[in-house]
Symmetry: C2
């Protein structure tokens, strides 16, 4: 099974590595790390992850995983080649998936028009403007498209995807391998639970590259 | 603040990127990606992450984060240079931290002798044999050392570390940025909750590189 991970400048590393870790270790998976050009791809944190091929290498992967970015508006302007590849590959994929603002790239490729989808809480209006029916759910499955909310939601999405590609037992095994029994030390993981002072603090705390 | 992420062949990508994503975006952080040699480092999934420097570049970082590996026994034999760097740097660090079987590298460096620490559920006996007092907790703080359980526990560890380096509000803001309000689709994240058939399935499902 060919699973293509779409890499691009300014992507968020954890958006990629969350679902990647649930999938890439499974027997029978051929993981492909594709970008517009091969070589190191710089994430929005400064971390660099290597693209080992280009989009054109794999026009019809079975599964595509598209991470998001803290700079998604720039990315939407810059990543035309990625968007074109998504649009062309989509009719042939078993599953098209995104994490975080990766859903805005799917939407720009015309894949989410009039369909339920989720994204990072900070990008809901942008996704709506691109034609999706925006949900606040953590993971949305609609036909053969799965979208996840912000960053860490990619782990939940990845396990959902394993359960669909294999079965629930396989997803449980992947969860055990990742020791995914989360114990967040605080209750501040989304806009509904974060206190107003925390939302305000975020602006002065972040330094996106 | 200099935060050093220790990279090595066969590391687990999510062990690194979980805490990395909680820390690297924060204003004032200088993130360093160090290995025995600069260049792409191959993870146990096949993903490659770039080391932008070597251990010797930074003998006294403020914080060190050591990821684990699905092939930790080989790693303990192979990564002597990393272990020596950890042992020499430890007396000067504000925080020494590990995720998953990264704790076995800390133990080999003599940092965990007689001290409480945690690790991936599959490596508890190995960590005990290396002299630590093994806990099954998800995150263990002991003095200036923080150890995390397997893979995804690095996110919980990272948020705990942000709360110690800054304050609880900063950690809550990082949690909000990562949208870390987990909703695992199954209850199978550790040995205590995973059904026996799931534990058995894991062996035939995994294909560690």
């Amino acid at each position: 099974m060919d699973i293509a991970f779409a890499l691009y400048t300014h992507m968020t590393a954890l958006d990629l590595t969350g679902p990647h870790e649930t999938l890439a270790h499974l027997a029978g998976v051929d993981a492909h790390y594709l970008a517009a050009r091969p070589g190191p791809v710089r994430c929005d944190s400064g971390l660099q992850i290597t693209a080992t091929g280009v989009f054109a290498d794999l026009p019809r992967p079975d599964v595509i995983v598209v991470p998001g970015s803290g700079r998604w508006r720039e990315v939407l302007e810059e990543q035309g080649e990625l968007v074109d590849w998504l649009a062309a590959a989509y009719p042939h994929t078993t599953w098209m998936t995104s994490v975080c603002t990766g859903s805005t790239l799917l939407a720009k490729a015309g894949i989410l028009t009039g369909r339920p989808a989720t994204t990072h809480w900070g990008a809901r209006e942008d996704l709506r403007a691109l034609g999706a029916e925006v949900s606040n759910a953590r993971v949305v499955v609609d036909g053969n498209v799965i979208t996840a909310a912000g960053v860490s939601a990619g782990i939940d999405m990845g396990l959902t995807l394993v359960s669909r590609l294999w079965d629930d037992e396989a997803a449980q095994a992947a969860q055990l391998f990742l020791e995914y029994a989360p114990e967040p030390p605080f209750e501040s993981g989304n806009l509904e639970t974060a206190p107003p002072n925390v939302v305000q603090r975020l602006g002065s705390l972040l330094d996106l590259r």
